[in-house]
C-alpha cells in the first residue's frame, strides 16, 4: 500500500502548481474557484486521499474528529458574486465570512435573515454544513427557508447546481436542502444563493426577568400565540434566574402600542433596550459540556429549569432550539430523560473538546445509502457519520 505522502504527491502533481502546500506538516489547499475545487477533489478521490473541508473552523469539532489527510480551506472561495437587490437575492462564495456578506448586503438595507454563532469569523459554508441558526429563525425560518440555490462539487469532481436565483422554483430535487446540516459529508459547497429580507426600520428588545422558569415560559407561549410583530425571542437561564427577550420589528408608529401589549400580556412592565441575543456565545467561553437540544416550544421552560438545577446555563430560541452548558457529560443523561420523543440532543463539545452526532432513527440506512451514492469512497470529511 502506498504511503499517505506518496498519495498526496499524486494529488499535487494532478493540480496546478502551488495549490497544495505544506503547513505544520499537513497538506493544505485553498482553492479559489469551483474549477480548482473540482481538480483537487477529483484527484484526491482517485488517489484515496481523504479531505477535511474547513471554513473558519469555529464549529469543526462539533461532529467529532475529522481524519482527512488533505485540508481543503474554503477561505479563498469568498466574496459576494452577485447582489440583485431589487430581486432580494444574492449569490456568495462558500468561504465568505458571514459578517462580511451582511455588511455588503446592508448597503441596500438588506440581509440574510439569520443570526448564526460567531458571525465575525464563521463562513457561509460552515454555517450551512452545521445548519446553524439563531433567534431570528422564529420569524424568518432556518437556512432551508433562506437558501434558494447552490453549487456543489461531488467527490468524483461532478459539479452540480440545484435551485436557482429565483425564490419560487419547484423544478427538480432540492439538493441544497440535502447539503444543509450534512457536515460536508456529501459534497463541497462552493457557492450559495440566498433569498434576502429587508433590514427592519426599527426594532426594540423587551425583556422580562423572573426567578421562576415558568414565568418566562408562560409569557413566551402567550407571545407565540399573539399577533405581535415578533422577530426574535429567546429564554435565558442560569443560576441568577431566568429572562425572556422579545425583539419586536415594526414601524415606529406602532412600536409603543406593541410594547404596551407585551406588558399587558406579562402583567408587569418589561425592561427595554437590553440586547442579549448574542448571549449564547458565553456558553462556549467557559469549561463544561455544551449541547444542542431540540424540542417543542412548550417544553423549553421545563428543560431550562432542569439545566439550571444541574448547575448549568442555557439559551433557548423560542422555535425550540436550546443550547445548554452543563458541568459534565453525565448531566446530559438527565436532560435526555426529560426530552419527549420528538426532541433530540446533540453534544457539541464534550470534555475532550469534541462533539458527537446523535443517532438518526429509522432513516439511518437510507442516509448511509445517500452518502454511498454521493461519496462512495468516503473521501469527504472522513470520520464524520451523519446517518448513524
Amino acid at each position: 500500500m502506498e504511503s499517505v505522502t506518496s498519495r498526496i504527491e499524486e494529488v499535487k502533481a494532478a493540480v496546478s502548481a502551488g495549490l497544495v502546500i505544506e503547513r505544520d506538516g499537513r497538506a493544505v489547499a485553498s482553492p479559489a474557484s469551483t474549477q480548482e475545487v473540482v481538480a483537487l477533489v477529483r484527484s484526491a478521490d482517485a488517489s484515496g486521499v481523504g479531505i477535511e473541508i474547513r471554513g473558519a473552523g469555529t464549529k469543526r469539532r462539533w461532529p467529532g474528529s475529522i481524519s482527512g489527510d488533505l485540508l481543503l480551506e474554503t477561505r479563498a472561495l469568498a466574496g459576494v458574486r452577485e447582489h440583485s437587490w431589487q430581486d432580494l437575492t444574492a449569490t456568495v462564495g462558500a468561504g465568505t465570512i458571514w459578517s462580511h456578506m451582511q455588511k455588503a448586503l446592508a448597503q441596500h438595507a438588506q440581509q440574510v435573515a439569520l443570526d448564526p454563532l460567531w458571525p465575525e469569523q464563521a463562513t457561509v459554508g460552515g454555517i450551512l454544513a452545521t445548519n446553524d441558526s439563531g433567534a431570528l429563525r422564529l420569524k424568518y425560518g432556518s437556512l432551508r427557508d433562506l437558501v434558494i440555490g447552490i453549487t456543489l462539487v461531488l467527490a468524483d469532481g461532478t459539479v452540480a447546481r440545484s435551485g436557482g436565483k429565483v425564490v419560487k422554483n419547484v423544478a427538480g430535487y432540492d439538493l441544497h436542502k440535502l447539503m444543509i446540516g450534512a457536515y460536508g459529508t456529501l459534497a463541497v459547497v462552493t457557492e450559495v444563493t440566498f433569498r434576502l429580507h429587508s433590514i427592519p426600520h426599527s426594532t426594540q428588545v423587551w425583556t422580562l426577568e423572573a426567578t421562576e422558569a415558568d414565568v418566562c415560559g408562560a409569557q413566551m407561549m402567550k407571545v407565540l400565540d399573539s399577533q405581535l410583530s415578533v422577530e426574535a425571542m429567546q429564554l435565558r437561564a442560569n443560576a441568577g434566574g431566568y429572562a425572556l427577550d422579545v425583539q419586536l420589528a415594526c414601524m415606529e408608529e406602532v412600536m409603543r402600542a406593541q410594547l404596551g401589549m407585551l406588558d399587558a400580556l406579562a402583567g408587569v412592565s418589561g425592561t427595554l433596550g437590553v440586547d442579549m441575543f448574542s448571549a449564547r456565545h458565553r456558553l462556549f467561553e467557559t469549561n463544561g459540556t455544551v449541547a444542542k437540544l431540540t424540542m417543542l416550544p412548550s417544553h423549553i421552560a421545563k428543560i431550562s429549569a432542569a439545566v439550571v438545577r444541574l448547575g448549568g446555563e442555557s439559551v433557548a430560541q423560542a422555535s425550540g432550539i436550546l443550547l445548554a452548558r452543563v458541568p459534565g457529560v453525565a448531566d446530559l443523561d438527565r436532560l435526555r430523560e426529560l426530552l419527549p420523543p420528538e426532541g433530540s440532543l446533540t453534544v457539541l463539545r464534550a470534555a475532550d473538546g469534541l462533539g458527537t452526532l446523535p443517532p438518526v432513527g429509522t432513516s439511518a440506512a437510507l442516509m448511509q445509502e445517500i452518502k454511498r451514492r454521493f461519496d462512495p469512497k468516503g473521501t469527504l470529511n472522513p470520520g464524520v457519520v451523519v446517518g448513524r
Partner: protein
C-alpha cells in the same frame, strides 16, 4: 400487470379497497393535465399506513410501479398513472390526527383537504398558510409532492416551509420517519428533500405541519396603470421600501378583460392591474397602505382603489382567481404556462413574449404573482385552425426557455411531472440531473415510485406536450386554476 398474483396480494393488503374493473379505473387515468391519459392496472384505497405499506411491499415484490394520488388536481401530470401501475389513492386517509395549538402543529393523513386544515384551526385564530387555488379540493399529500405555492407564499412561504416531519413508506416497502415536530431533527434533511419530489421518492402516510397565527388585519389595494412596466416598477418599489406584502399580483389587459366578463369584479380597464395585499397589525398595515398608494401614484397609477369591506376584497380576489378559466371566454383554446423569472426582468420578458407572440400572430394573456416573479402566460389559439396548436405549443415552450435564459425556472408551482420533463434538460445540465438521479437511486433503485416523471426521457415520435383543457372541477366551478 396481468398476473393474478399481485392482485391477490393487493386484495390481501386492502381487502375492501381494490379496483380492477376497466370502467372504474378510468376515473384515475389522468389528473388536472387532462390531455395525458394512461389506464392504471389497479387502484387501491387504503385506510391505514400499514395498508399503504403492504401495498408498496406487494409492488416491490412483483416489480410493479405505483403512483400516489390525492385529489388529482395537479397541472403537470404528477398523478398520471404509469402503464399498468398501481394507483394508491389517499381518498380514505383524510383524518386530522392531532392539533397542538400552543406549539402550532397539526398532524394529518395525506388525504386531508388543504382547506380542512385551516377550517380545523380557524376557531383558535390560526391558518395553514400554503393556499394553492385548488385548496378547497386538493390534498396535503399532493401539496407535499408538488411543494405547492399559492398567492400568499410571497410572505408565508411554500409547502416546504410548513412541513416539519413525515412518515414515509420507501419504495422498498420499509416504513421510516423523516424530520420531527421539533426543529432540526438529526441527520440529513430528508423532509426538505422529499417535499416537492413529485412522488418519486416514496409515499408519505402522515405529515406534521406548522400552522400560522392569523394577522390582525388584511387590506387589499387595486391600482390601474398604462403599462406593465409601470406596474412592475411599483412592485419593485414596494419591496425596496421594505414592505413584504402577503400578495402582489399583476394582470394584463387581456386577462383583466376576461375576468371582468366572467365574474364582474368591476376592474378598471387598463393595460396593467396591480393587486397588493398587506396584512399584520392594523396600525402598521394602515401606514403601509398609505405608502403603497403613494408609490402607485408616483409610478403613474391613474386609479388606486382600496377594498373597504371583506366583500369588496373577496370580489377583487375572485376576479384574479377566475382569470385562467375566464380566458376561455375570449379564446377557444389556450395553454396555461408556469415560469419564473427574477422579478426585475418582468418588463423585459413581457416585451419579449409580446414579440414572440406577434411573430407567429398569436396572443398571450398574462397573469402573474409579481412579487416572486412567477408568470402564468396563457397562450391563446384556435385548434380548429390547422397547425395553430403546434405553433402555440412551440411558443409556450420558448417562453419557458426565455425564463430560464434570464436566470429563472421552468416551474414555480405546478411541478415538472410529465408535462415539463423535456424542459428540465434546458434548465439543468447533465451533471445536475445525474446528481439528482443519485438521490433517486438511493431511495428507489428499482424505479418503481412514480416512474418516468420529472427527469427528461427519450421523446417518442409524434409526442407533444398539451394545450389547456379545463379540469372537470374547474368547469363545475369548484376550483380555479391560479
Amino acid at each position: 400487470m396481468s398476473d393474478s398474483a399481485i392482485f391477490a396480494d393487493l386484495r390481501a393488503a386492502v381487502p375492501d379497497g381494490l379496483i380492477t374493473a376497466a370502467n372504474e379505473l378510468q376515473t384515475y387515468e389522468c389528473d388536472g393535465l387532462t390531455n395525458f391519459r394512461t389506464l392504471p392496472g389497479a387502484v387501491v384505497l387504503p385506510r391505514t399506513a400499514e395498508q399503504v405499506q403492504a401495498v408498496v411491499q406487494a409492488c416491490a415484490r412483483h416489480g410493479v410501479p405505483f403512483v400516489a394520488r390525492g385529489a388529482g388536481t395537479g397541472l403537470s401530470g404528477g398523478a398520471l398513472p404509469a402503464e399498468k401501475s398501481v394507483v394508491i389513492s389517499f381518498a380514505r386517509m383524510n383524518r386530522i390526527l392531532k392539533i397542538d395549538i400552543p406549539n402550532q402543529r397539526v398532524e394529518v393523513q395525506p388525504g386531508v383537504i388543504n382547506q380542512h386544515v385551516t377550517d380545523a384551526v380557524a376557531p383558535y385564530g390560526y391558518f395553514y398558510a400554503p393556499d394553492p387555488s385548488s385548496q378547497s379540493v386538493c390534498t396535503i399529500g399532493g401539496n407535499v409532492a408538488e411543494n405547492s405555492g399559492g398567492a400568499h407564499c410571497l410572505k408565508y412561504g411554500f409547502t416546504t416551509t410548513h412541513v416539519l416531519g413525515m412518515d414515509v413508506v420507501l419504495p422498498s416497502g420499509e416504513m421510516v420517519q423523516f424530520g420531527s415536530s421539533a426543529p432540526d431533527a438529526p441527520g440529513y434533511d430528508l423532509t426538505g428533500l422529499f417535499v416537492g419530489s413529485e412522488g418519486t421518492l416514496g409515499v408519505a402516510t402522515k405529515l406534521t405541519l406548522r400552522i400560522v397565527k392569523r394577522p390582525e388585519t388584511v387590506q387589499v389595494l387595486l391600482a390601474a396603470f398604462d403599462s406593465i412596466r409601470a406596474a412592475g416598477q411599483t412592485v419593485s418599489d414596494i419591496i425596496a421600501a421594505g414592505m413584504l406584502p402577503a400578495a402582489l399580483e399583476i394582470m394584463d389587459r387581456l386577462s383583466a378583460k376576461a375576468s371582468e366578463a366572467a365574474v364582474h369584479p368591476n376592474y378598471p380597464v387598463c393595460e396593467a392591474l396591480l393587486l397588493v395585499e398587506l396584512d399584520g397589525p392594523a396600525a402598521e398595515v394602515a401606514a403601509q397602505i398609505a405608502e403603497a398608494t403613494a408609490l402607485c401614484n408616483q409610478n403613474g397609477a391613474w386609479e388606486v382603489r382600496r377594498a373597504q369591506t371583506a366583500d369588496e376584497r373577496g370580489l377583487i380576489w375572485k376576479g384574479r382567481k377566475a382569470a385562467f378559466a375566464a380566458v376561455g371566454r375570449i379564446s377557444p383554446n389556450y395553454i396555461v404556462q408556469d415560469g419564473v423569472i427574477p422579478r426585475t426582468s418582468l418588463p423585459d420578458i413581457l416585451d419579449e413574449i409580446t414579440r414572440m407572440a406577434d411573430a407567429v400572430s398569436l396572443s398571450v394573456a398574462n397573469v402573474f404573482h409579481a412579487g416572486d416573479g412567477n408568470l402564468h402566460p396563457l397562450v391563446l389559439y384556435d385548434k380548429a385552425i390547422p397547425g395553430q396548436e403546434q405553433i402555440a405549443l412551440d411558443l409556450s415552450y420558448r417562453i419557458l426557455e426565455a425564463c430560464v435564459d434570464r436566470g429563472g425556472s421552468i416551474t414555480g408551482e405546478h411541478g415538472v411531472g410529465r408535462e415539463k420533463q423535456e424542459a428540465m434538460g434546458y434548465m439543468f445540465s447533465e451533471p445536475d440531473l445525474e446528481t439528482m438521479h443519485r438521490v433517486r437511486r438511493a431511495f428507489d433503485p428499482l424505479n418503481l415510485s412514480n416512474p418516468d416523471k420529472v427527469f427528461p426521457r427519450t421523446k417518442l415520435c409524434g409526442e407533444k406536450t398539451g394545450p389547456y383543457t379545463p379540469h372537470p372541477l374547474e368547469s363545475a366551478g369548484v376550483a380555479e386554476y391560479f
